[in-house]
């Protein structure tokens, strides 16, 4: 059988037995779920038993791609990692979420497909440190003793030297020392600059899997290349003609924008080449000269300076660089350093707890020493490495309710951007989504930025938001449920925003490219044209969006089996308090408000959740998909499998 867009195979690797097998891709699944997250969840369904320890050999890592990944479509480097993540998601023991989470890359996914595999399913645990080599038919579990202990950049460099392509680099996924030492908020990096699998570094580490290398020359064929290129060219021209178009991510205005511009040294981008966003910055002079960081949200230095009260931006660069090299989540590391340091200052933690460290608030060397304790799992660092809830238990304080030391936490995940830090993430005119704050709460893996939600541009009117909704493929009936003449329902809009962006991601296109500055990319009819020309499959635009809906429902079913319900979609209590930030620029009261600037109460937020579940066809009290909804989506078989476990 000839495959178009898809590579047509799934690679199964059992690290315990060394068994490797290649199976054809089930095209019925591809029809129903497109790619990455949806097919990945179905593959997980076959191998994942309920209530297993995410760090046990029984857990599986499913790396997935979509049919347009590795083409010339702007932003077409989006892959997925579907697994049971390692961060404790509840105060109850052994409760961990299962999620399909996206990550970027410019070589990893593209080379995986070119090697001939749409998905890689990894189970078991290798007896010794290993890496997986995937080069066309040459698939091998290789010794990684020479890589173990190396930081992510060094290990990636060694692997690229070992496995050189004919015309360029191989693709890499690499974990750092934090993942090796099972720090539960560790992650992996693809192609050096794209963080992959926040909270999955330890899952790979527990499998003794240091890295994956991908390389191949089988080619990604299009069903109708001429039509595909016509459809593509039309959109590329439209993007280039857009007044806001710039090929690289903007650094913003003001002090932060100037700092990022002054320290800029390089930028990397994903396939399709119209939207590079992974910038690299280096300190040019002063005591931190030469310190650099890259591949992350460019606002991170300012955020880390503010949160940790660090005066010198160079010190923030140094800290970020260290976190990246170790393969630690920047957000959780930063928030946890802040939390623990403030508790130490308050006397809740003793010098003995801290392993003798002397308290130096705002001192980067103090924070670096504390980070070292996390990565090496020493003293308080060993407790921090277990995640927020075990740490809460140790200190007897919940950071999500104790403002003085706290941050917003949902399902064990600290939210990178506090919804109150800008006037409001729910509010018009901030350049952020009215849905984002809500999306952070309802997703299986609480999202930390913009992922899979509706993201608005600056200062949109209600009619412009409505126009976006139309471009996302909402029917007239749905539009009428979401919008009134002068307002809209955040909970209901979130359902459709999440599905539209997940559909893009499942196809292999970055949702950031869709909503960031390329307004023309938010165009479901065009997406259908591109998908259809690439795959030769006749699926209507509406059916494409249905795939996005199926993905949300299947992910939810997995987590219902693990015991998650509406009560886990917890609005962080801290969101109802005033935010007092230490920067002068952020003085004044800062409450969570709606689109129109009205302060939101708990009842308002719970009302948004009610509307979200209702629009989804989920039980409003429990947040569980109803039988009618599952039947409508054709998910009865999956529901039965997940019910019986």
């Amino acid at each position: 059988m000839e495959y178009y867009g898809y590579s047509g195979r799934v690679l199964y690797v059992d690290l315990s037995t060394g068994n490797i097998r290649k199976e054809p891709l089930d095209m019925d699944l591809a029809h129903q779920f497109i790619g990455g997250p949806g097919v990945g969840l179905n593959l997980l369904l076959d191998v994942l038993k309920p209530n297993i320890d995410p760090l046990s050999p029984e857990n599986a890592l499913v790396f997935g791609t979509g049919p347009l990944l590795g083409t010339l479509v702007p932003g077409s480097g989006k892959c997925y990692l579907t697994t049971k993540y390692s961060i404790p998601a509840s105060k109850d023991e052994n409760k961990f979420f299962i999620s399909a989470s996206m990550f970027g890359g410019n070589r990893f996914g593209s080379m995986m497909k070119n090697a001939g595999y749409d998905h890689i399913v990894i189970t078991g645990r290798a007896k010794r440190p290993s890496y997986l080599k995937v080069i066309n038919e040459d698939v091998e579990i290789c010794d990684a003793n020479h890589l173990w202990g190396k930081d992510v950049y060094e290990a990636g460099r060694v692997l690229r030297d070992q496995h050189k392509g004919k015309t360029g680099r191989c693709g890499t996924f690499v974990i750092g020392p934090a993942g090796e030492n099972l720090v539960r908020f560790s992650l992996g990096w693809t192609d050096d600059w794209y963080n992959a699998g926040r909270f999955a570094g330890a899952v790979a580490g527990a499998k003794n899997l240091k890295a994956i290398v991908t390389l191949g020359n089988k080619g990604i064929k299009m069903a109708d290349m001429k039509r595909f290129m016509e459809v593509l060219e039309k959109k590329r021209q439209e993007i280039q003609g857009h007044p806001d178009y710039r090929p690289t991510a903007p650094f913003g205005k003001g002090r932060t924008g100037k700092l990022l511009t002054d320290t800029f040294v390089d930028i990397k981008g994903c396939n399709g080449g119209m939207c590079a966003c992974k910038s690299v910055h280096e300190v040019k002079d002063g005591p931190y000269k030469g310190e650099w960081f890259g591949g992350t949200f460019a606002g991170m230095p300012a955020l880390i300076q503010m949160t940790l009260q660090i005066e010198d931006y160079g010190a923030a660069f140094k800290l970020l660089g260290r976190m990246n090299r170790d393969g630690l989540c920047l957000s959780t590391s930063m928030n946890m350093l802040s939390f623990v340091t403030k508790l130490y200052e308050r006397g809740v933690l003793s010098q003995e707890d801290m392993g003798g460290l002397e308290l130096k608030m705002g001192d980067p060397d103090f924070y670096l020493a504390l980070l070292e304790k996390v990565v090496r799992r020493q003293d308080i660092g060993d407790v921090m490495a277990e995640g927020w809830y075990p740490l809460c238990e140790k200190v007897g304080i919940d950071p999500s309710t104790d403002y003085e030391t706290g941050c917003a936490i949902t399902k064990g995940v600290d939210l990178l951007v506090d919804a109150r830090i800008w006037p409001s993430l729910f509010k018009q005119g901030t350049g952020f989504s009215p849905c984002m704050g809500l999306g952070s709460v309802v997703h299986a893996k609480a999202k930390h930025t913009h992922s899979a939600t509706y993201w608005s541009h600056d200062e949109l009117s209600i009619s412009e938001v409505r126009r976006d909704a139309e471009k996302m493929g909402l029917t007239n009936e749905e539009i009428h449920r979401v919008f009134t003449e002068d307002s809209f329902d955040t909970g209901r809009l979130e359902k459709y925003g999440g599905e539209a962006e997940t559909t893009y991601n499942a196809i292999g296109i970055c949702d950031t490219a869709v909503h960031w500055q390329y307004d023309p990319m938010r165009d479901i009819p065009w997406l259908y044209e591109a998908y259809s020309a690439a795959t030769g499959l006749d699926i209507t635009p509406r059916e494409l969006l249905r795939a996005g809906e199926r993905i949300f429902n299947l992910e939810r079913l997995f987590n219902v089996r693990e015991g998650f319900t509406r009560k886990d979609d917890r609005i962080p209590p801290i969101y109802l308090q005033n935010m007092e930030t230490p920067l002068p620029a952020r003085e004044g009261e800062r409450y969570l408000t709606d689109w129109f600037g009205r302060r939101l109460t708990r009842e308002d937020l719970e009302g948004m959740l009610d509307a979200y579940y209702e629009e989804r066809g989920w039980d409003v009290k429990t947040g569980i998909p109803t039988r009618d909804k599952l039947t409508e989506l054709g998910l009865e078989e999956q529901a039965e499998m997940l019910k019986s476990g």
Binding site: G70, T71, L72, N106, R107, S110, M111, N114, G165, K166, T167, G168, R169, D191, L215, G216, N217, K218, G219, I220, K221, M222, M225, M229, P247, T248, D266, I267, K268, G269, C270, N271, G272, G273, M274, A276
Partner: protein
């Protein structure tokens, strides 16, 4: 100058692979960077294989970052 009428500046390359994607699509019939006629190893080098046609400038059209540019004729 790595090739007639094309200038390469490897340090500007973002590794988006657009040049290799358009090249392989045109000459190998699929998106297949390993079969492209342009070799991308930034920041050290960007080069061309022997099969690369002197008159072809497709890669310059798809590079948005000025890593591969066409020398303007006087």
């Amino acid at each position: 100058m790595e090739k007639n009428n094309i200038t390469v500046t490897p340090e500007k390359c973002t590794e988006c692979m657009s040049c290799q994607l358009i090249c392989s699509m045109t000459y190998a019939g699929a998106f297949n960077p390993e079969e492209a006629r342009i070799i991308v190893n930034p920041p050290q080098s960007i080069g061309f294989t022997d099969e690369c046609k002197e008159e072809c400038i497709l890669c310059t059209r798809y590079c948005k970052f000025d890593a591969i540019t066409r020398v303007k004729e006087e």
